[in-house]
Amino acid sequence: MDHSKPPSSRTALRTLLIVLAVVVGVVVYAYGWTTTDISLDEVQDPTRTGNVQRALRELFNPDLFTRDREAKSFFMAFFIGCPEEEQQRGHVDLEGGAYVIVTPVCADPDDVITVEGYNFPENAIAGIRLNRDTGQAQPFQIIDASGKNTQESIFDVDNTGYFKVQVKVPRARGLSGETHQVEFQTVSPSGLPRFSETARTVGDKMIETIFLALMATTLAVPISVVLSFLSARNLMREIGVPLGTVLVGFMLLPVGAVLGWILLGRLGSLGVDWGEKPLQGILASAVALAALIAALRFINGIAPLAESVWGRRVRGLILNILMLTAGVFVLGALGGVFIWLGKQLDSGLAEYLGNFVGTLGKLVDLTIRGIAALGGAALLGSAGANWSADLLRHVREPLSNILGAIFGLISGALLMAATAYVGGQAVLLSLLNALVAALLGGEVAVLAYQRLFQTQNGKRQARHEDTRGDDASRTLLFFIGAVVAFLVTAQVLDLLRAIVDGRPPSEREWDILGLGVRIYLGEAAIIGGVLGAVAGGLAGTNMSFPLGMTVYNASRTILNALRSIEPLIMGIVFVIWVGVGPFAGVLALTLHSIASLGKLYSEQVESIESGPIEAVQATGANRLQTIVYGVVPQIIPPYIAFTMYRWDINVRMSTIIGFVGGGGIGFLLQQQINLLRYQQAGVAVLAIAVVVSVLDYASAAIRERYV
C-alpha cells in the first residue's frame, strides 16, 4: 500500500516545520527570559546574599514564645598585675554556692585567663566585666581556642550551671597593682514559656482575618445563588417569551419603579420612623399583617373573580400589590425596630449584637426606597407582561408589526437613554451605548434579511424553527448591521470626544415642553428608538424573544468582568471609599466572591440531572416551584462544598488584602516587613501557613463528604 508510507517530500516538510517551530519557540522563550530580567549577577552579589541569609534566618526564627528572665550578678576580687610568687589556679567562692576556678588567679592586662564556673544559673547567658571605681565597666573579651579575639563578651552557661571560657583581661590606664571587682552577670530564663507580644497580636489579627473571610463569604452567598440560577444555561435556555410581551414588561419597568419609589418608598420610610418607636412599629406591623391576611381571605372569597381568567388576573394583581405594600411597610418597621434595638444594646456582649442589629436597621433605612422601587418595577412589569401575553397572542400581521414598531420605539429609546446615562458617568462606559446600538443594529439587519428573502409560514414555524443552514450569512449580516450601528452611534454621540479626549458628554440641553433634556441622552434615545422601531416592526409582537438567554448572557458577562478584577485592586478602591480597615477587605472579597461563587454555583446547576426537573414540570409546577423542588435538592451539597472552598480561598486572600489596607493579618505583615522586623513577620507567615493548611484540610474533608 503506498499511502501507508507518505511521500518523502512531505516528511521533509514536516521535519522542517517542526525545526522551525522549535527555533521560534526558543526565540520566544529567550525573549521572555530577557524581559523578565532573569540574571545570575544579582543572585551572587555578596551583600544581597548576606541580607537574604539574615532575613531568612530571622523569618525562620519567629518571635513566637517568650518567658521571664532573671538577672543575677556574682562578684569576685581580682588582682591585676601579678606578683612573682603567684599561684597557678585559684578557687574563688561566690554567693549562692557558685564558685569559679580562675587560671591563673591573677594576670596583667591583655593576658588571657581561663575561667571555669560552677553552680551558676542554668542555661543563662553570661558576661564578665571589670567594674572600675569611676563607675565604668569594661568587658572581658572572649578568646577562642586558636587564641583569636572574637570581639564577643557573651557566653552560654550550660544546663548544669557550668561554663568554661578563655577571656582577655581588659587593658586600661592605672589598672595594675590593684585588686579590682570583677562581676559575673547572668541572665537566665525563669518561669513558664508563654506567647510573645508579637504572637498575641498576630493571633488577634488572625481571628480578624478568619472572620473577614467568613463575612465576605456569607455576604456573597445569597447574591451568588440568585446569579447562579440566572447564569445557568440549562435553566435559562428554555425561557422564550413573545417579543411584544417582553417589550410591554420592559416599558412598564420604569413606570413601576417610579411609582414604587414615590408611593411605597414613602410608606417604607414611615415604617422605619414608626419602628424606631418600637411599640408603635410592632403594633402597626401586626395590624398591617392582620389586615393583609383579612384582605387576602376576602378577595379570595369573591366568587366572580375566581371564575374567569381575567378575574383571576385582576385578583392576582391586587393580591400582589397588597403583599408588596404590607411587605415594604413591615420591612421598614423591622428596620426601625432594629435601629432602636441597636441603640438599646450598648454594653458588654450585647454591644456586638446591638451594633450588628443597628447596622442592619440602618441598611434597611438606607435601601427601603430602592427596594420599594424594585418591587414596584417587578410587580408592574410582570403584570404587564402577563396581561399583554393574552391580548397580543391573537394579534396577527400587520397589526402585530405595527404594535411591534411602537413598542420597539419606546423600549429602544428607554434602553438607549438609560445606557447613555450610565455611559455618561465614565469614559470607558460610554462604549456601552455603541455596543447596545450595535446589538440592535445587528438584529435589524438579520430581521430585515429574513423579512425580505424568506417567507415565514405561520407563527409556530417562526417561534420554534430557527432557519438553520444559513448560519454563516446570518452571522455576516449581523456583523455588518452591528458595525454600521456602532459607527453611526459613535459618530452621533461623539464618542471620540469621550474616549480619545477623555471629556464628559456635553451638558447642553434641548428644551422640550419646558423640560430640559440633555442632548446627549436625547440623541441616544432617538438612535435607540429608530433601531427599536425598525427591529420591532420587522419582528412583530409574536416573534419569540430569547429572554432567558439574554439574561444568561448579561449575568455571565457581569460575573466574568467582576471575576477578572483582582480583589487587591477592588481593595484599593474600597479603602478609598470606607477607609483603611477590615471593612474595606470584606467589601473587596465579597465582590470577588460573588463573581467566583456565582460561576462555580452556576456550573453545578448546569450539571444537574434534567430528569427530575422534567418530572416536576410535568406535574404542572410553575418555574419557581420547579426550581424549589427539581433543582434545589440537587444542588445543596455542591453549594455547601463550594461555599466552604470559597471561605478557604477567602482566608488565603484576606491574608494579603491587608497589603493594600484591607485589614486582617496582611496589614501587620506588611508593616513588619517594611520595618525589617523579620522575626515578627515570621510569626505572621507561620500563622498564615498553619491556618490556611488547617482550613484547606477541613474544607477538603467536608467537600469530600458532600460531593
Binding site: D390, R460, H464, E609, T619, G630, P633
Partner: protein, 252 residues
C-alpha cells in the same frame, strides 16, 4: 378524547423526530406505543404535555388545544396529565414523601411551596397513594435508597397525586428486570381499569405491549407504521416495524 393532528417535530439540529402524526385516543384506552429507539416515542409523549414544543400540528384534549395554550393554561392542563419516566426522574436526595407530594405542585400556591408547605389533605393523600402502590412504609426514606421497581412505584404515586385523567408512561419498565416490569405494568393496568385513566405507554417489548395494550401504535422514523389491535401484529408487520434483522425477544 385525545386527538392528535398532523404533529411534526423538528429539533433545532435538524433531526425530524415526528412526521405528520395523527391519531385519536378515546377516553379509558390503554394505548401502547412501540418502535425502535429513536423512532419518536418519547418525543410524541412529551409533545402531548409540551415538555417538548411541537413544531407543527395540533393536540386537542377535551376540546382544548394544548399546543395553543398559554403558560398558565398549560399548567392547568399539565396537572391533569400524569407522567412516569424510564429513569423514574425522582429527586434522589429528597424523601419519598416529598417526591410524591411534588405531584401536587400544580394545585399548590407557589408561595406555600416556596416554604415547602403542603396541606394536611395533601399529606394524607400522599400516604394513601403510597399505600396503593404498596410502599407506605418507605415514606420517610430518601428516594435513592429504593430499588428500581420501588422508585418507579414512587413515580406512579407522584403522578397519581395529580388525580390525572391521562397518564403518559415513557418506557416505564425499560430500566427494570422482567419480574418487576410486570408488577409495574400491573399497576398501570389497574389504574386503567379501576380509575378509568387513559394511558399512553411506550414500550420496547412487543410481548408486554400485547399483554397490556388495548391498542398498539408503532412508530418508525417518526411516522405511524401500524395502528391497530395487538393481535394484528404478525411476523411481517413485526419486521416492518423493527427492521428485517429483528428477532423477537419474549419477556414473560
Amino acid at each position: 378524547m385525545l386527538k392528535i393532528e398532523h404533529l411534526t417535530k423538528v429539533y433545532d439540529n435538524g433531526v425530524v423526530a415526528l412526521k405528520d402524526v395523527s391519531f385519536e385516543v378515546p377516553d379509558g384506552q390503554f394505548l401502547v406505543i412501540i418502535g425502535l429507539s429513536g423512532s419518536g416515542k418519547s418525543t410524541l409523549l412529551r409533545c402531548i404535555n409540551r415538555l417538548i414544543e411541537p413544531t407543527e400540528g395540533h393536540i386537542y384534549w377535551d376540546g382544548n388545544d394544548i399546543t395553543e395554550a398559554t403558560d398558565e393554561e398549560l399548567r392547568q392542563i399539565r396537572r391533569r396529565i400524569g407522567m412516569i419516566f424510564q429513569h423514574f426522574n425522582l429527586v434522589k436526595r429528597s424523601s419519598v414523601l416529598t417526591n410524591v407530594l411534588s405531584g401536587r405542585l400544580g394545585y399548590t400556591s407557589p408561595l406555600w411551596s416556596f416554604v415547602n408547605h403542603f396541606s394536611r389533605e395533601d399529606h394524607q393523600k400522599a400516604l394513601e397513594k403510597l399505600a396503593r402502590v404498596g410502599i407506605a412504609d418507605k415514606a420517610s426514606i430518601r428516594a435513592d435508597q429504593l430499588s428500581g421497581g420501588q422508585q418507579q412505584r414512587v413515580g406512579i404515586a407522584r403522578a397519581l397525586m395529580q388525580e390525572p385523567e391521562l397518564m403518559l408512561a415513557d418506557e416505564p419498565v425499560a430500566s427494570l428486570d422482567p419480574a418487576t416490569s410486570h408488577s409495574v405494568m400491573k399497576y398501570l393496568e389497574r389504574l386503567n381499569h379501576e380509575d378509568g385513566i387513559t394511558i399512553l405507554c411506550s414500550l420496547h417489548f412487543l410481548s408486554l405491549a400485547r399483554a397490556y395494550g388495548d391498542r398498539i401504535i408503532a412508530l418508525k422514523d417518526g411516522r405511524i407504521e401500524f395502528d391497530g389491535d395487538p393481535d394484528e401484529i404478525d411476523d411481517q408487520r413485526f419486521r416492518d416495524i423493527y427492521g428485517e434483522d429483528a428477532v423477537r425477544v419474549e419477556i414473560s
